[in-house]
């Protein structure tokens, strides 16, 4: 029975990592966005009316049989290749047998000891502790294909889980959606940076899968889900990657289920380390169990105790024939792989001339693709960054959306930013006018040119009005004019401000300065 009442004792994180060394294993489930399900022709659209995307096969009706979705196998191979894995020449599906109402057949068609991809790695970037970054290699044990289960909604009761619920509703739309489960080898040597490594790994994996265009990778919608296995062992020596530390056997692990945001991955690992450290510090033992992560409290609570009774009685799926991708097919698929996100980022950074810090801001704002497209549409990289990371980014944050979906929702496109930039570089708009135009575009008033036209925003090109204004301001400020004449050029700033005011901002400050200095030389 779940214990959810009292909060567990936790050890201060610094103390925890001073005494113990963490070992992690991360299991990530990714829903592929193939048009149809893993073993039948039903559509996979998210958010459809419950039980509207089902058929005899994915409902597990008596007599129905599965047929493998070739597209899903292709995606699995591409994911394997992108994770630097070996691809099986021959592998089978297996049945994982257990009873649960959201599993139509009471077995999940999965892969057991013959995964489609195995023995790979993913290099992720983490901070090196002195302001820079370094590469941490996460080794991949396997990536295998399986089908998703249905989704249960437990009504009544306080936990939202099946225990204590009055009744449960099951939606089988999700049943049979292709999943790839990616399992790391034990991640050792991360030491106190373990939570950061976990987050960086899931983040890098998400970028990779997005670049492969195989999944929506929306953690909040469950199309990417992470289970974090964490255990602690006693610290030995100062170096978490030292021989002394590596020689210490692993401790008992817990598996924290369904950690559904990047931030939560980091928090959940950190919490679990502190919780386990407190137990071990008191001489206690860790229970091998699954735990549930609670986003609101930032804690994990005990789930099901794992025991020898957990026997899934795997055996090869007799309703399916083995999957045997030819080496030619694998090579062909290798040719379709995109540039690895890490390398691509490095290339763009150097093309754009951004500092590490600038590039990190861009990545964190999810603006890499937007800037790339804006530059392709003719804007300078610095300007593209300035505009995207400014107002649009601020507003997206305020709305709790990511920049890409926020901009897409408004119909605000890289072409708009490039156009805005052109209006500035061509001298039609100054910076403050451009900001007003941007406001208009974001308000849906039209393209930058349309907004500038409608609002009558244009730098004055006829110098007579400007010259008259300069003369008026000089006449009105004889003291300052005198100082400038005497060589105090910096005093011109006060006059420039007044001229700009007279011109209602529609003048180029550089030009004003030049005119003032010319009059007073």
């Amino acid at each position: 029975m779940a214990v959810t009442s009292a909060a567990d004792r936790v050890l201060d994180y610094d103390e925890a990592v001073a005494k113990f060394d963490p070992v992690m294993g991360l299991e990530v489930h990714v829903e592929l966005h193939t048009a149809t399900k893993m073993f039948c022709g039903c559509p996979t659209t998210f958010g459809a009316e419950p039980n509207s995307q089902v058929c005899p096969v994915c409902l597990g009706l008596p007599g129905a049989l599965p047929v493998v979705n070739e597209k899903a196998v292709e995606s699995a191979v591409r994911i394997g290749l992108a994770l630097n894995c070996e691809i099986a020449e021959w592998c089978r599906f297996a049945r994982k047998n257990y009873f649960y109402p959201d599993m139509p057949k009471n077995f999940q068609t999965s892969q057991y000891d013959e995964p489609i991809a195995f023995n790979g790695y993913l290099d992720v970037e983490v901070e090196d502790g002195s302001g820079g970054t370094e590469i941490f290699r996460v080794e991949i044990e396997r990536a295998h294909m399986e089908e998703d289960t249905g989704k249960s909604l437990h009504v009544g009761g306080s936990t939202g889980r099946i225990h204590g619920a009055e009744y449960s509703l099951v939606d089988y739309n999700r049943a049979g959606i292709p999943l790839i489960e990616i399992v790391t080898k034990p991640i050792v040597g991360a030491g106190e940076r373990a939570p950061e490594v976990a987050k960086a790994y899931v983040s890098a994996l998400r970028d990779l899968l997005r670049a492969l265009d195989v999944s929506d990778v929306k953690m909040e919608q469950g199309s990417m889900r992470c289970d974090a296995n964490v255990s602690l062992r006693v610290r030995a020596g100062d170096d978490p990657r030292g021989d002394a530390q590596l020689a210490v056997p692993f401790g008992t692990r817990t598996e924290t289920k369904n950690v559904n945001s990047l931030r939560s991955v980091e928090r959940a690992v950190r919490y679990e380390m502190s919780r386990q450290a407190a137990i071990l510090d008191e001489g206690g033992t860790i229970l091998q169990e699954t735990r549930h992560w609670h986003e609101d409290t930032g804690m994990t609570t005990s789930g099901r105790v794992k025991s020898d009774a957990d026997d899934y009685r795997y055996f090869p799926e007799p309703d399916l024939v083995p999957v045997a991708p030819t080496r030619e097919t694998v090579d062909e698929l290798r040719g379709t792989l995109p540039e690895p996100p890490g390398l691509r980022r490095k290339r763009l950074q150097s093309e754009w001339g951004f500092s590490d810090l600038e590039m990190r801001d861009v990545v964190n704002a999810r603006a890499v693709e937007l800037i790339e497209e804006t530059v392709a549409a003719g804007a300078g990289a610095a300007a593209a960054k300035k505009w995207w990371l400014g107002e649009p980014s601020r507003r997206a944050n305020a709305e709790g959306q990511d920049l890409v979906s926020y901009a897409a929702g408004l119909g605000f496109a890289p072409a708009h930013v490039a156009e805005l930039d052109r209006l500035v570089t061509s001298g039609r708009l100054n910076d403050s006018m451009a900001r007003q135009v941007l406001d208009g575009v974001l308000a849906g008033e039209g393209t930058p040119t349309e907004v500038a036209d409608a609002r009558g925003l244009e730098l004055v090109q006829d110098d007579s009005a400007l010259e008259a204004a300069v003369d008026r301001v000089i006449d009105a400020n004889p003291d300052i004019a005198e100082k400038i004449r005497g060589g105090k050029v910096q005093a011109a700033g006060a006059l420039i401000g007044q001229v700009m005011k007279e011109m209602k901002g529609q003048a180029d400050a550089g030009k004003v300065r030049a005119l003032i200095l010319a009059r007073l030389s």
Binding site: P56, L59, G60, L61, P62, G63, A64, L65, P66, V67, V68, R95, N97, F99, P101, P104, K105, N106, F107, I162, S168, V170, D311, R313, Y314, F315, P318, D319, L320, V321
Partner: protein, 508 residues
């Protein structure tokens, strides 16, 4: 042709229908009348669909009258084993678990039957989820052997064999996981074929053991069996294990009935100890007849067949334990609430339903299979059984280097009495000893009547086995033997079966 339409063969009916000398409605009605007259005694049907069958018959008659060219068996009625899903018709698999369930879709085989224009008379009885050799494990009571109503009609497809043998349908479908088509054919004096694994789609067959199950035809003559085989078979993209090739030329082979020059191997391991004298005598005579017809006969040894039964009773329960897990009261079929529990959990409802819904034999095999797949036992049981399976396939391969087909008695005994083996599962299992190797290796097999045993006057069968995808060889040999026996007997074997009717009711 016989004036009693129920005595005619499917081929004769097809010819008469094609020449419009009879209508499908007449043929169908004749069979419905026969069902009404005798099925009270035989109990071969679980469900009769008179209305649906007549509607199909009328539609076919109209299409024929309109000059449409129709498939060979159009208008010839058929009975369907209750393990195949039929859209809108109950499909129980002989189990309480599925009582009242109406499938929303047709099995591919049923789709083929409908496309062939064949009226479906009803669904035939079977051992629960096809587990058994007698139909005594049907939750709806056993079917009876038309030769002797106190005896079993074989199983699991005893309903189909009894329907055929009692002239309640000219054709029926069966499924054969370890002999469920062939053994019932043997003990009722009818013909039945288990095609090559993958030759007939399994889509819509409620699975017993996926790697062993194969649907096939049941009939009274070898030609009729071939005609139905042709309708049922063929590639199905909905079944991943379906063979992507045309149906072997079975009808042509049945019509030619030619064994001249064929090499026939008698399997040494199938036919010695444990085989009833009458079964062996008829088998030896049948082999001699094939020699007379020009076949060459040699003895062949398949030493690993001795382990077939043991391997089979690990693989079948293992797969069945997983296949039958879906019957959990959550989505369809029976739902039983546990007694004495106010607000039962889903698990408790599953357990109570499975306890009430499954019969003893099903539970026995689920428990066996669950155990065999358990971690720590998997290698010793399931793993070893798969190795035996490979060895048996190798025995077949070696044998087929020397011969074109193999033969053996189909079943070691004639039909036993109802209740005789019900309490002795091992004795029941041994009934399938000769038929199981074909399922383990995926090769095709057929049972053809070889006569009646002197000691009890009950039918005996001979089994013919061919290499995978060479199903036509079964029909060459089967038809040649059938012809030779018919010449010797002067009348079909079923003419020797007692007439069913009121006078056969016990005590009348």
């Amino acid at each position: 042709m016989n004036t009693d339409l129920t005595r005619a063969s499917a081929a004769e009916l097809a010819d008469a229908l094609a020449s419009k000398s009879i209508s499908s409605v007449e043929v169908t009605q004749a069979h419905l009348d026969r069902i009404a007259a005798v099925d009270g005694q035989v109990h071969a049907y679980l469900h009769v669909d008179a209305e649906g069958a007549l509607a199909t018959a009328r539609a076919i008659d109209e299409r024929r009258a309109a000059g449409e060219s129709l498939p060979t068996l159009a208008g010839v009625p058929i009975a369907v084993k209750d393990v195949m899903t039929t859209k809108g018709l109950p499909t129980t698999c002989g189990s309480r678990m599925l009582e009242g369930w109406i499938p929303p879709y047709d099995a591919t085989v049923v789709r083929h039957i409908k496309a062939a224009g064949m009226p479906i008379l009803g669904k035939t009885n079977m051992d629960e989820f096809a587990m058994g050799s007698s139909t005594e494990h049907s939750a709806y009571g056993p079917s009876r052997n038309p030769w002797d109503l106190e005896r079993i009609p074989g199983g699991s497809g005893g309903g189909s064999s009894a329907v055929i043998a009692s002239f309640q349908a000219p054709l029926a479908t069966g499924t054969d996981t370890g002999g469920s088509i062939r053994q019932p054919a043997a003990v009722t004096g009818t013909v039945g074929t288990k095609p090559t694994y993958g030759g007939v789609s399994r889509y819509g067959l409620v699975a017993l053991a996926s790697s062993l199950d194969q649907a096939g035809p049941c009939a009274r003559t070898v030609l009729d069996t071939a005609l139905l085989h042709e309708v049922m078979g063929g590639h199905d993209p909905l079944d991943s294990t379906s063979i992507d090739a045309p149906v072997p030329p079975v009808v042509e082979a049945a019509r030619r009935a030619d064994v001249a020059g064929m090499r026939i191997g008698v399997v040494k391991e199938l036919g010695g100890e444990g085989y009833q004298p009458g079964v062996r005598a008829r088998f030896d005579e049948a082999v001699a007849l094939l020699v007379e017809r020009g076949a060459e006969v040699v003895e062949v040894s398949c030493p690993n067949f001795d382990y077939a039964l043991a391997a089979y009773y690990l693989i079948l329960p293992s797969e069945a334990s997983s296949n039958l897990a879906k019957f959990d009261a959550m989505r369809y079929g029976m739902r039983v609430l546990p007694e004495g529990i106010d607000a039962p959990t889903a698990e408790q409802v599953m357990a109570a339903t499975r306890d009430a819904g499954f019969g003893d034999e099903v539970k026995r095999r689920i428990i066996l299979g669950t155990y065999a797949l358990s971690s720590g036992y998997y290698d010793a049981y399931y793993g070893s059984a798969q190795k035996v399976r490979t060895l048996i396939a190798q025995d077949f391969a070696r044998a087929y280097e020397k011969v074109d087909v193999l033969v053996s008695p189909t079943a070691p005994t004639t039909a036993f009495k109802l209740g005789d083996k019900l309490d002795d599962p091992m004795a029941m299992y041994l009934n399938d000893i000769a038929t199981i190797p074909a399922n383990l290796a995926g090769v095709p097999g057929m049972s053809v009547p070889s006569g009646v045993a002197d000691e009890d006057g009950l039918p005996t069968g001979i089994q013919i086995l061919a290499p995978a995808t060479k199903d036509e060889r079964l029909y060459s040999v089967g038809a040649a033997l059938e012809q030779a026996l018919l010449e010797r007997w002067g009348a079909p074997i079923l003419s020797r079966a007692p007439e069913l009717g009121a006078d056969l009711v016990k005590g009348a």
